[in-house]
């Protein structure tokens, strides 16, 4: 049950997609509702950040204030990127909670075969801070080391390091394959290590405890956890890879390429629907199911009570 074989992973995927399909309406309504709530929360976050700013600098000075950022290139691109990430975190939190709340729906399905759209709001509300905290940690773990590498690189080599590391000397918009390869490996490993984070938070553990549990579990049950996680990443890759080709095939002169781009754009519609309504729910179900199997108390003996007969001795 705990070790992965190819058939176990295929079985896990089949069950995950089967339950996701069965509960597609609940997920559709849940995602729709939770996105509205997240959008509203982002407006509130923006108001909390920008309204005090307006009071401090005054409405008249708002344009010069933002214009003053124009000279920021002197502080270094990596520093700006780091600042942007710190600034983005509060805006990102509501969406992280939304994804986390979907793991709550996944838990309901794995434990009882069914869920309801309103269930997602209960998880959203009851686990808001833990899920937001977990989401931020996940984001910082995945993006943090990359930013650190960029910071160190720019400190040593200057801003041209960013150009060398990410953009090759070839045609514009064509990224360095080594850097991208390393980036993908880091993404797969870091998210894999934290793949049990949300299921653990949903199980009632704190963010810190959930990080520890997730990392420990993904090392102890490496094949099972990374097996299912890689399978989901491969499906994700297969779904979005054709979309990334759109920018390469668009050509104003070659009609064959233009037709190809058109087909890919048509493909984008079902791909996005599958991604949101089927892939994402299946992933939450698959990871939650794996978490529950691996944390099962199998050493416990079954203690079914025998049928209770009539008592001879009355209560005291």
């Amino acid at each position: 049950m705990e070790n992965a074989s190819f058939s176990t992973i295929i079985e896990d995927l089949k069950i995950s997609f089967k339950f996701a399909t069965k509960n597609i309406i609940s997920f559709l309504l849940g995602i729709f509702g939770v996105l509205i709530v997240s959008g509203l929360l982002i407006v509130v976050v923006a108001a909390l950040i920008f309204l005090p700013l307006l009071f401090i600098i005054g409405i008249g000075n708002i344009v010069p204030f933002f214009e003053s950022f124009a000279g920021l290139e002197t502080v270094g691109i990596a520093n700006i990127a780091l600042g942007a990430i710190m600034f983005a975190l509060p805006f990102l939190a509501p969406f992280m909670v939304a994804i986390g709340a979907m793991f709550g729906m996944g838990r309901e399905i794995v434990e009882s075969e069914g869920t309801s759209a309103e269930g997602v709001f209960t998880w959203y509300k009851k686990k808001f801070f833990s899920l937001a905290g977990g989401g931020m940690v996940l984001f910082l773990v995945v993006v943090g080391p990359l930013m650190l590498a960029l910071l160190i690189g720019t400190l040593i080599y200057g801003d041209q390091f960013l150009t060398i590391a990410v953009i090759s000397s070839g045609p514009a918009n064509f990224t360095n394959p080594i850097a991208i390869g390393l980036l993908l490996i880091w993404f797969a490993v870091s998210t894999g290590l934290l793949s049990m984070l949300f299921p653990s938070i949903i199980d009632g553990y704190s963010v810190f405890e959930s990080i520890k549990r997730s990392v420990k579990m993904s090392i102890k049950y490496f094949d099972r956890i990374f097996g299912i996680w890689m399978a989901f990443l491969l499906i994700l890759g297969a779904l979005i890879l054709p979309l990334t080709l759109i920018s390469f095939v668009v050509s104003p002169t070659n009609p064959v390429f233009t037709i190809g781009a058109g087909i890919l754009m048509i493909y984008a519609i079902p791909a996005t629907i599958i991604l949101i309504l089927l892939y994402l729910p299946a992933m939450t179900i698959g990871l939650t199911r794996t978490y529950m199997i691996l944390t099962a108390n199998e050493d416990y003996d079954e203690t079914l009570e025998d049928g209770s007969g009539p008592s001879f001795i009355g209560g005291i």
Binding site: E111, S112, K126, M292, E298, T303, E305, G309
Partner: protein
């Protein structure tokens, strides 16, 4: 986590709930039903609890998590079904619970006091009429007696717990009641309180 040798939590014979947080938690009717009506009798899954209570599985899961946090419920075992769902069986930490009266009064304020007064007044259906001015003292006496009873009954009397767990459930209930009654009778403080209470009831019985 699977693989690590966890000891199965022992289901206590009787537990007196004195923690205010636990008492408040059990004031919620669905949670009280889950614990007192179902999980004291045996282990059940979220799905089964959802079916018997008529609540949706998500609601049951949230209640179970809250009960788990305070230690009233634990995960007994996990099973995979044919359909692929992973069911967890939850169980109450004891086979019988009693609420600590003083703690309940502190946790719920007027509610517990009102209930105790209502109990005293309800004795009239048995022909015991307690005048309004004596209800307070009757509540105090009853509270003291229940407190002492809880104190004694919550002590673990079982010498061989493994053997006790293997008894048929009806025998287990009967021997438990015999022994709890026995230790109560042996306690002089309880006997004194019970005599006072009996005398109080006798003095208010109609026609006496």
């Amino acid at each position: 986590m699977s693989g690590s040798k966890k000891r199965k939590p022992r289901v206590k014979d009787m537990e007196v709930i004195e923690d205010k947080k636990m008492i408040k938690l059990l004031m919620e009717p669905t949670r009280a039903k889950i614990v007192f009506d179902y999980l004291v009798k045996g282990s059940m899954t979220v799905k089964q609890l959802s079916e018997v209570t008529g609540k949706n599985p998500g609601t049951i899961l949230h209640h179970i998590q809250k009960l788990k946090e305070v230690g009233l419920v634990f995960e007994e075992r996990t099973e995979q079904t044919q359909t692929g769902i992973v069911q967890r069986y939850y169980r109450a930490s004891a086979r019988e619970y009693r609420m600590g009266i003083s703690e309940m009064v502190q946790a719920t304020g007027d509610d517990a006091t009102k209930r105790l007064k209502s109990i005293i007044k309800s004795l009239s259906v048995y022909g015991i009429d307690v005048p309004e001015r004596q209800i307070e003292s009757a509540v105090d006496l009853l509270t003291a007696m229940i407190n002492r009873e809880n104190e004694i009954s919550s002590s673990n009397l079982i010498e061989n717990e493994d053997e006790y767990d293997n008894l048929p459930s009806s025998d287990r209930g009967d021997v438990s009641r015999i022994m709890r009654r026995f230790v109560l009778e042996e306690d002089s403080q309880y006997r004194e309180l019970r005599e006072k209470w009996t005398a109080f009831l006798r003095s208010h019985r109609k026609g006496v």
